[in-house]
């Protein structure tokens, strides 16, 4: 659901096909019948943007039909926590909402604590103020009838999906959910994923082999990039970026704010100080807060993609680096993003080919070069096969790759480009006495004295050193907050535990038990393959499913044994204090059914920013906490003018904005034309025949494409009215061997309330014959 692994993650699909041959069942939930659906045992359609309704209904179904893993829920989730009386929900809003600011006061959603500050719990789950009862009540409204009215799913199909999946509440069974951008790219993206998490916790499917919520990453190394702080709000290893606010003005204050009281994150100060030591070396001392003040602080503003481009469009940015990104094709409201690039003073594009973005100023892009003052630099990058380094997959395995061929021409590895830039900038700032140049001077950059960096030194810096002895740190529990250790990224600490032993280079493909292959590469943290695997055993340490046991408490050895690295202290007995808690990183040590996010602690269905219907669940039409980016450049379409729901997606043959695949002949020929998919019924209404050229318009623009008239899209009946949906690929632009119109000329600037990921997956359009 929200992913199409057969088309977009085919290697993951290989294992689904194997599971199916072993008697497993594949369920496919998607607005259109995909190549994944073709292999599914059950397929159910839903209208784009109604995932919370669909999943809320499944949560309700599981609870009402007693299809939950009770022991797991009581032992390992926060179901028993009592919530303060200030928390409430009514008609689409939780308590504490400020309509003016479109913001919640999350202090109203706290747990009740006793005199000692401990959370009050009711293990019988009967207290009406416990999380379980509040959740039950919240989702009671999500009946099968109501849900199907909103999603457009046929009721029999819906019940089949719910039955099939909820059957995994049986401790002897496991179910996994594989999702991708079909889940996240919505104004409720975060809560879509939260719905998965709640369902999986109720079914006892987290921390067990074959379970989990799998984020199918959109690029081979997205996992690695977020691990390494690519997201604007994160430093490496998911430590928060400090904000420029008084409460976070010093290292101590900052750590006070971001360090939870429970679980493994209590060690955050050790990880952050070790990170600062890796950043600033000798310039990071106890006296200067280990260089905390050198770190750039963000003001609480938003630095996400849409926010940056809105600012660029308003003329607030001088320059930009486009590093392997092609917003003129891939960005939402792409025509506006193209114009925004023209307001920069300078722009550097680093890419394998000249893309639509690096040449946004050209005539073919629809620009008039004379009018554009932006100075554009293009740096040719080499491909992954032309360099060495690591790629981290969705299973968190960091796998080393060696260079296969030498780079073409002057193209360079990204690391080389950063290295050359950093060395020249350090040289340029060397003599400066300006205070704002201090951080750059303090930053260590010790990866060799040549333009080609010594990648082994980079790897070791990531792992970390004992700064006194100069030895590599063996594992992150050894990191300290007194400046005697460094680590560029604590979660990877231990992948290079001693000289000559880069564990990401391991390629031992012997199965070490339960298909864990523990000697193949390195999986963070500490080579653990299944996170939270403590939850695969009951509180006494006995596996819920003996047949698929992965770890267990061995009383005679007084230690945990098994086929994986246990997710906690190996010697901590189930009877010890904390020995029966499974979720070390969630702040509560429990799987959080109730978890405050910007729009609430429980998911609630809201319609997409552009929707053909009124929200049937409440009078709140859209997510009350999203930021609205208004202005003439970002008009909102209505269903009178644009009655058809549209979504965008990828096909196996092309990748992302197509910058690579439209330049790769054997891939380009497989899907050489821009296309949309449309139902036979809508085609008939509009007089469109299969293979006709059509025009698709939204409030933002109009594009041309070929129509695939297909049985794989069907009109939905939503609240008694017929609603059509079409789908389109977003791989095309005007450069490359094959060219075509860009779907993102149609999508709006609107994003999720927590991440601001754009809502590419549900917007309104109209379609007609060209």
């Amino acid at each position: 659901m929200g992913g199409n692994p057969a088309e977009n993650h085919p290697i993951s699909f290989k294992y689904l096909l194997k599971a199916k041959q072993n008697g497993g069942k594949i369920v496919s939930v998607d607005p259109r019948f995909t190549r994944s659906s073709s292999q599914a045992d059950v397929y159910a359609p839903l209208r784009s943007g109604t995932d919370i309704a669909f999943l809320g209904g499944m949560i309700n179904y599981a609870i009402q039909n007693d299809m939950i893993h009770k022991d797991y829920v009581v032992s390992y989730t926060n179901a028993s926590f009592i919530v303060e009386d200030t928390f409430s929900y009514e008609d689409g809003l939780f308590s504490g909402y400020d309509a003016e600011k479109r913001k919640y006061d999350q202090k109203q959603w706290k747990y009740k604590t006793d005199a000692e500050g401990k959370t009050v719990v009711d293990k019988t789950l009967q207290n009406p103020r416990c999380v379980y009862q509040l959740m039950k009540k919240h989702f009671e409204r999500y009946t099968v009838e109501k849900v199907c009215e909103v999603t457009g799913t046929p009721q029999d199909k819906y019940i089949e999906v719910a039955k099939t999946f909820c059957a995994t509440a049986d401790p002897k069974k496991a179910g996994t959910i594989m999702y991708a951008m079909g889940t996240t790219q919505h104004t409720v993206g975060t809560q879509n994923v939260r719905s998965f998490a709640i369902l999986q916790l109720l079914l006892g499917n987290i921390g067990v082999p074959g379970g989990g919520v799998q984020a199918l990453r959109g690029e081979s190394n997205v996992q690695g990039s977020t691990d390494f702080g690519l997201l604007f709000g994160n430093l490496t290893g998911y430590i928060e970026v400090p904000q420029a606010v008084a409460e976070q003005a010093s290292l101590e204050k900052f750590l006070g704010v971001v360090t939870p009281k429970l679980g493994y994150w209590v060690n955050k100060p050790k990880f952050l100080v070790s990170f600062l030591k890796a950043m600033y070396g000798k310039s990071a001392t106890k006296d200067n807060e280990f260089g905390f003040q050198f770190l750039p602080k963000i003001d609480p503003k938003d630095y996400s993609h849409i926010a940056l481009f809105e600012n660029m469009y308003a003329g607030n940015l001088d320059g930009a680096f486009l590093w392997g990104t092609n917003p003129v094709v891939g960005g939402p409201n792409a025509l506006v993003e193209k114009q925004a690039l023209g307001k920069l003073k300078w722009m550097v594009a680093v890419d394998l080919w000249e893309t639509e973005s690096s040449s946004f100023w050209q005539k073919e892009a629809g620009s008039n070069p004379e009018d554009i003052q932006t100075e554009v630099f293009f740096l040719p990058a080499c491909s992954s096969y032309e360099k060495e380094g690591t790629v981290s997959n969705s299973g968190r395995w960091m796998q080393y790759r060696w260079q296969a061929i030498k780079p073409k021409g002057d193209s360079k590895a990204d690391l080389e480009i950063v290295h050359m830039l950093a060395r020249r900038l350090k040289e340029a700032y060397k003599g400066s006495t300006k205070p704002e140049d201090k951080p750059f001077q303090a930053m260590t950059w010790e990866f060799g004295e040549h333009d080609h960096p010594d990648i082994d030194l980079v790897a070791k810096e990531i792992n970390g050193y004992d700064t006194v002895t100069g030895k590599l740190v063996a594992k992150f529990p050894d990191l300290k907050d007194d400046g005697t250790t460094s680590s560029g990224n604590w979660i990877y600490c231990g992948f290079y535990p001693e000289e000559g032993k880069n564990l990401s280079q391991r390629r031992d493909n012997k199965d070490t038990g339960m298909s864990n292959f523990l000697n193949w590469s390195f999986s963070w943290p500490v080579n653990r393959r299944i996170l939270y695997n403590r939850a695969s055993c009951d509180p006494s340490g006995k596996p819920y499913n003996e047949k698929n046991a992965i770890i267990w408490w061995d009383e005679s050895a007084k230690a945990w044994g098994g086929y994986d690295v246990p997710d906690f202290n190996k010697l901590l007995a189930p009877s010890d204090e904390g020995g029966a808690t499974a979720f070390m990183m969630t702040g509560t040590t429990k799987g959080n059914l109730f978890a405050p996010r910007n729009e609430g602690p429980f998911p609630e269905h809201y319609e997409p920013f552009e929707s053909p219907v009124q929200n049937a669940f409440s009078s709140q039409q859209i997510n009350p906490a999203i930021k609205i980016w208004d202005g003439d450049h970002n008009p909102r379409g209505n269903s009178e003018k644009f009655p058809i729901v549209a979504t965008t997606y990828r096909m196996s043959e092309h990748w992302q904005s197509g910058a690579m695949t439209r330049n790769t002949p054997w891939l380009a020929e497989l899907v050489p034309h821009m296309l949309i998919e449309i139902s036979e019924e809508l085609a008939k209404d509009k007089g469109i025949k299969d293979k006709d050229k059509v025009k698709i318009s939204s409030a933002r623009g109009e594009i041309e494409a070929y129509a695939v008239v297909t049985k794989r899209f069907k009109p939905y009946t939503i609240l008694g009215k017929t609603v059509h949906q079409i789908g389109m690929i977003w791989h095309f632009g005007y450069k490359g061997i094959v060219t075509g119109a860009s779907a993102n000329n149609l999508t709006p600037h609107i994003g999720d309330a927590n991440t601001n990921i754009p809502e590419y997956k549900a917007f309104l359009c109209d379609v007609r014959r060209a």
């Binding site: 019948f33 196996s652 054997w666 497989l670 034309h673 293979k691 297909t710 049985k711």
Partner: protein
């Protein structure tokens, strides 16, 4: 020598087209950007595109939908019409029981194209300076890989296990088991290894009737092809010598065609 076949279990295929890319990559074939056909990239296999994934939507009786994919390529017939009608002996069976074209011998007459019951083999025009030559091309089952002990490129690329190359007996047995496995889901499933062409070296497990996939239900080696290879050609060779056979061949097959046999084994 161990008897090997290629087994294509279309019920496992997820239509990723990795096999198409692997084929072009190994055989170094140029791209062919065709007009818009929908999801399918090429209307049919060609002399430059030796395998094509076909996409077919079928509504099921229960209201459900099947989206059927087939890796379409040369079947490597035991009784290969293309081989039988080739007047130049350019087409033959290799030691792997596969059908291969000898480029040097091929004169580009196009009979094989005319007679292949599956519309597989095709001609392409090669330019050598001012000289233009037509030659027939199709899947070779990657004979140059087999020679090195490798698998055909498509089989190596297929992540789904839909294309496998291996021991004939074992794979034919596997085909039977798989047929039983999928019967519930696909009541029309069948093993496609047509007798009319003596069986094929590429054996399919199809999810639906052959015609749904654009395959002839019971293909035959056209009578004219049999007449040519098994009777006329030996006779002609004896009388005239090898080099002029194409001319004789043309006369004979035209004569046969005009009699209304039509040649093609399509139903």
């Amino acid at each position: 020598m161990e008897k090997m076949i290629k087994f294509v279990d279309v019920t496992l295929c997820d239509g990723c087209r990795g096999c198409m890319v692997a084929c072009k990559n190994w055989n170094d074939l140029p791209i062919e950007i065709e007009e818009f056909h929908g999801v399918q990239s090429h209307a049919n296999v060609t002399a430059n595109t030796w395998n094509v994934i076909t996409y077919t939507e079928v509504e099921r009786k229960d209201g459900g939908l099947d989206w059927l994919f087939r890796h379409a390529s040369c079947l490597h017939c035991k009784e290969a019409s293309c081989e039988k009608v080739c007047s130049e002996d350019a087409i033959s069976h290799s030691k792997y029981d596969t059908v291969v074209v000898d480029e040097d011998k091929c004169v580009g007459c196009g009979y094989c194209v005319e007679y292949c019951p599956f519309d597989v083999i095709q001609l392409k025009t090669l330019k050598d300076g001012l000289v233009e030559k037509r030659k027939a091309y199709k899947c070779t089952m990657c004979i140059d890989r087999l020679d090195q002990g490798l698998q055909p490129a498509c089989a190596t690329a297929c992540h789904a296990g839909s294309i496998v190359y291996g021991n004939k007996e074992e794979l034919l047995a596997k085909a039977e088991t798989r047929l039983q496995d999928v019967k519930d889901r696909f009541p029309n499933a069948n093993i496609y290894n047509p007798k009319g062409v003596g069986g094929t070296n590429t054996v399919y497990l199809l999810a639906d009737k052959p015609s749904v996939y654009g395959l002839p239900e019971s293909p035959k080696v056209p009578t004219s092809a049999v007449v040519w290879k098994d009777y006329a050609q030996p006779l002609g060779k004896a009388l005239l010598g090898v080099t002029t056979m194409a001319v004789v061949g043309a006369a004979i097959s035209n004569a046969i065609n005009n009699k209304g046999d039509g040649g093609h084994g399509h139903e």
